[in-house]
Symmetry: C2
Subunit: 361 residues, 2 copies
DNA sequence: GCTAATTGGGAAAGCGCATTCCCACTGCTT
DNA sequence: AAGCAGTGGGAATGCGCTTTCCCAATTAGC
């Protein structure tokens, strides 16, 4: 698309393009008032719209922040995106959105596209995977990020470093204390729950899931409880649903074999949408929460607010995560250090026990 | 940020930049194989990343689609965004995201920012408002869009035209049959519900809300039912919650005054998140759905899947809406016409009655 | 072998803008 | 009156790329 140019404004105002630029963009050199008025009037009458591409080319700064999520309609990513948007607005920058399926190969493509657009910074929000099948993708992604950072770009990764990444200048990791919080959740649940625990985890090798699984096991161990069995499933609602169907069958089988005295199962799903899926599966099998089994999740996504029964979970400040990640990339090394130093204090979650894990007293 | 340039690649390969561009980008003119190999190798060894800003400047096409939503974390907008993302990917374009609070003045700013970036097209997803306080904002937004389209940009607005817009070349409206569908919902509810209806609407003057209110009233009229009272509230969950509190008080007052024989209230909230808010309010007041009152919403947002009781609603294909809007702007007038001709057939919703409006037989 | 047509590479120009440096003018001081 | 310093406007340059047109070389046809 085309529009009026600065050169046309300058010609109409009878000045040079340099002067017109000074008037409209500000400069150490201040054009005289008469000239400035003429320029402004010319811009107004021509309906001048600056060309940000040309500005970016001339200034070597695009004013763009690239954001990579796995699925923008997932409440977890949507909340992070909202935080990124807010922080971007503070910096007067715009957000370029890339939705990938979750694999590092697709993320590499997104990073390359952002690099082509000379995005000033990139925020990567999805979980890291160290599965064998993602090895090549991780290597390619790490190389692409290395190049991007060496060329002056800033990157913030939420949760874990990209597997194989070399942490060049401009590369920030916003640590999320998944392990510690899952440990704490287990501790609190073990304090009130007599029955067995089972964990519904994502695919092994998905680092966020692994952290949460391992943290929960550690909490159980410290509470003198035996390790929970881990069911592996897709890291989404339908993964939770499938695991939930299996658990429902077990609960029913266990009940018919041993009667009502059997201690109930407490299910920890490593994210809320998985917990929601598992709950839906139990319900579809005629089971009630927490009467027949308890369920806890992780994240405290916004839509959980209207979920019944109220789900016990670990609350993560998702918007803050998006905001802090963006700010970490916003002003160069000083800001990067600030966000990383702040992470232990800045990204704090909390265990929130609700009705889904209530024990009948 | 900086990176290797095409000029450097050309120099290393010993050819002109024009030839290097031909090799890397394709052209009618085909460079010889030896030269092409040399260029590709030079690009590889230099880690050449094209500069999309420079490309956009030279080609007068940015490859950007601007998307304006009110809140990316609202499931309605997140679903539309997902559709836009998919269609953008088909067109090999990237999505620039602007989240506004909902007012046309903010939307104008977003449009201006997209215009500065020479976005090839813009999709505006939020509801239109013809309230008096938005008059100036609407005028400014319409003018900005007019200029954008006159400069060659493409716009797709979901639902209604921007108030005051002149429908220039390149301006598309993706009509959503809110009124007809709300009418149909009322008709179906009136067929089974004996009690009174009440509508929880957004602010008067918000066109999507008004359409749904009016359509529902028309359905009631045609079914021989008296008009529903309309409670006006904010067009979000908390607006629904507030209206729900008021209705809960009424239900309780009506029950104590007239006993159990009073026909129950059926609440139609003009979007799902408002319905969810109203339901939460009723529940907080000890009321049960559908035992004490029925509730229906509109949109069938994805997260409704796990809401209990299952909410009656009108299902809109939100992702399709995002996809079609994006495609409407994708290939010039012909595609635009196709989407607008297709709208009556393409954007079809359906009434979905679920447990929240079930009557005890 | 000669001529005409085709093909491919390079030089030049320009997309729209920001910045730097040169020059001219003005005001102040000696 | 002359010289110096400060200020503001313009010309020139360049950011990285694409496309067009000119020219030279090669190929094909007679």
């Amino acid at each position: 698309m085309a529009a009026s140019t600065l050169t046309e404004v300058a010609r109409l105002a009878g000045v040079s393009p340099a002067t017109a630029s000074r008037v409209l963009n500000g400069s150490a050199r201040k054009p005289g008032k008469d000239i400035a008025d003429r320029v402004r009037q010319a811009a107004e009458s021509l309906g001048y719209v600056p060309n940000a591409q040309a500005q970016g080319l001339a200034k070597s700064s695009s004013g763009l922040i690239g954001l990579i999520v796995h699925d923008i309609a997932d409440p977890y990513f949507a909340a992070i995106a909202r935080g990124v948007q807010e922080a971007a607005r503070e910096q007067r920058k715009m957000v370029l959105l890339a939705t990938t399926g979750g694999g590092p190969a697709e993320e590499r493509e997104a990073v390359a596209a952002f690099a082509a657009r000379r995005a000033d910074s990139i925020v990567i929000a999805g979980s890291r995977s160290c599965r064998e099948e993602d090895h090549d993708g991780n290597t390619a992604l790490a190389a692409e990020l290395d190049r991007y950072c060496r060329n002056g770009g800033q990157v913030a990764v939420v949760g874990h470093p990209v597997v194989g990444a070399t942490a060049p200048e401009g590369y920030h990791v916003l640590r999320v204390p998944n392990r510690e919080l899952a440990d704490r959740l287990a501790t609190e649940l073990a304090g009130s729950w007599d029955g067995d625990f089972v964990i519904v985890g994502g695919p092994e090798g998905l680092l966020t899931s692994d952290d949460r699984v391992n943290g929960f096991q550690e909490g159980l161990a410290r509470a003198g409880r035996r390790p929970a069995e881990v069911l592996r499933s897709a890291f989404n609602r339908s993964g939770g649903y499938e695991a939930g169907l299996e658990l429902a069958a077990r609960i029913k089988a266990g009940r018919s074999a041993e009667g009502a005295a059997d201690p109930k199962l407490c299910i920890f799903a490593v994210n809320d949408v998985m917990a929601i899926g598992a709950a839906a599966a139990l319900r579809s099998e005629g089971l009630r929460i927490p009467r027949d089994a308890a369920i806890a999740g992780f994240d405290d996504i916004e839509t959980l607010r209207d979920f019944r029964p109220a789900l016990s979970t670990v609350r993560l400040p998702l918007e803050d995560i998006g905001r802090l990640a963006t700010r970490a990339t916003g002003r160069g090394p000083a800001a990067g250090d600030a966000a990383e130093d702040a992470a232990p204090a800045g990204i704090a979650g909390e265990v929130t026990l609700r009705r889904s894990t209530e024990t009948a007293a």
